[in-house]
Homo-oligomer: 360 residues x 2
Amino acid sequence: MENRVYNFSAGPSMLPLSVLQKAQAELLNCNGSGSSVMEMSHRSAPYEAIIAEAESLLRELMQIPDNYKVLFIQGGATQQFSMVPMNLKVNGKADYIVSGNFANNAAKEAAKFVDVNIVANSKPQNYAEIPAFDSKDFDPEADYVHITSNNTIFGTRYTQWPETGNVPLVADMSSNILSEPMDVSRFGLIYAGAQKNIGIAGLAVVIIREDLLSRSCDKLPVLMNYNTYANNDSMYNTPPCFAIYMAKLVFEWIKEQGGVAAVYENNVKKAAILYDYLDSSSFFKATAKKEDRSLMNIPFVTPSKELDAQFVKEAAQQGFVNIKGHRLVGGMRASIYNAMPNEGIEKLVAFMRDFEARNK
Amino acid sequence: MENRVYNFSAGPSMLPLSVLQKAQAELLNCNGSGSSVMEMSHRSAPYEAIIAEAESLLRELMQIPDNYKVLFIQGGATQQFSMVPMNLKVNGKADYIVSGNFANNAAKEAAKFVDVNIVANSKPQNYAEIPAFDSKDFDPEADYVHITSNNTIFGTRYTQWPETGNVPLVADMSSNILSEPMDVSRFGLIYAGAQKNIGIAGLAVVIIREDLLSRSCDKLPVLMNYNTYANNDSMYNTPPCFAIYMAKLVFEWIKEQGGVAAVYENNVKKAAILYDYLDSSSFFKATAKKEDRSLMNIPFVTPSKELDAQFVKEAAQQGFVNIKGHRLVGGMRASIYNAMPNEGIEKLVAFMRDFEARNK
Ligand SMILES: Cc1ncc(COP(=O)(O)O)c(C=O)c1O
Ligand SMILES: Cc1ncc(COP(=O)(O)O)c(C=O)c1O
Ligand SMILES: [Mg+2]
Ligand SMILES: [Mg+2]
Ligand SMILES: [Mg+2]
Ligand SMILES: [Mg+2]
């Protein structure tokens, strides 16, 4: 596709070209219905087939056990920062590991509803690593333990899950769901905003172990109660129909790639192209701790702020857009979700080599 | 466009063909950016221009006074059933007029948060009319008075607004916003799900008088607090980017039609095509009370349930889809929002004449 740029945005982010082409082809007439999917009644047979297929593909891709519900919810991941404590509250206290900015936001929001205990915090390291934690640090009476599986801004990820015993582990997987195999049975609840590896903004996916649904109190706002979704196939009211349709197309695409295991294998390769170059270069430097490096978000810097700015500017001119780092880290960040083609990174590294040669 | 059906769905519902064509044309490359609008960072300049333009067009179309904020919120109209009482609560009591099923749902949800006083209720008339009310019925100490300006299921609408004195009037305009001129200054708060006259599901628009924003308490879930949106141009977290983009395209289309006044003039004509025929027919009958008839949703019946079913079936075969009535009314319902072309109704009436001739 001429004119398409390589978009390194942290989210909303690139979609597979074939997914966009499919959506475009059927935008005026979906599956011979004579309507756009955007115009379909959510109670119509063609639409019900779409949402059911989205759920069933996600179950297949993530091997979600039968005792977990899949919920499609509006409000993004931030809505889950509130819904998790509001729904999982029993004793009124929860453990949080703070490994980044969003993890910290999640903990701050939860503190409106439960007593939050920060078990570990890598803020002193400017979140360049996953903080050390010990299973003994967890409160056995906590209602849950919350982690952020991949830290979008700082480019770190968990490579092993905390051992929390009988306390349910809750994970914000917004920025690495479907990028690597995850054993769902290790979690009480998983949530993710859709705008990175699932599809488009305006949708979050929640995967919840059924027994936890009985914790929610009746007086919650109707759409803040997980049971509203669990009892109505996520259609108590009008769902974000088009976003769910886009998720279905992305799930089909992941399946065509060979599923999550195949996508993961490629993600490891893809990330290595950039990390290997960063490590070999005396000019560029990756900012995250090596053992905790994310496969999805790769922050890096040049020797100076001026060169960083120059790099971002020249990169955009070459069609590598949204590569500026988050203000909390500075420098650059290449977000390379599932849909970023390998050639996007190869070309970026070629450009980096050239930039290095010209500026060292 | 061949193969396109006339879709009488109550929502999600038809979109203007030219809007769909525009979305299709730029789906892979929006405004020369090299990205789909679905892939754009919400913090990027091209996307910020889109959301700003959506707001400014809506302000222009509805002549929204400067002391009102426009908010883009996820969760549909149902989320507003909760947010209104949670945010507007001061004395802890509110007046509701129950003119239909959604009005009733709004009142039931509010009762979780405030004492709800039902000022008038047309349930005994199966909601075939707007219930009578008197300005003396309103509690001057109420935090607000809530109405549903158009009753989607039963096909009635308000033709004059209640006089509520200093008590803010709150209206659920989900099914007739932008269909007729509305004097925004008469309201404290207006809300509407987008999937009828604004765009697609996954977005609600809230128009709130600024002084009411000080009522919200700090402890509300962050995305349930109107201030979160008002203070961050609706971008505290990732907004439903594509739904806002579609709303912008629909607002542009309304402006091209000559604005809300012109659209209203045509809506009156469009509805008359169907109502005039229904009134002249001894076979078909409109179910809503004449003085309260909606311009957007027109429920009607044949002489029997069997003929109703036969009608719905034959209509679908002729490309008039989703015309089955809601189970609470039975029969048929033609939802004819702004985007329904006049010829859709003309052709429907021609088919109805033919059906009547064959079945009388
Ligand atoms: C790990 C993580 N959690 C939460 C969020 C917030 O998501 P949303 O904007 O959908 O509320 C983000 C956004 O990028 C994220 O990366
Ligand atoms: C008048 C009215 N209010 C509220 C709703 C509920 O809207 P949502 O499904 O967006 O929550 C509807 C849905 O059709 C409606 O017509
Ligand atoms: Mg982070
Ligand atoms: Mg290096
Ligand atoms: Mg109704
Ligand atoms: Mg008649």
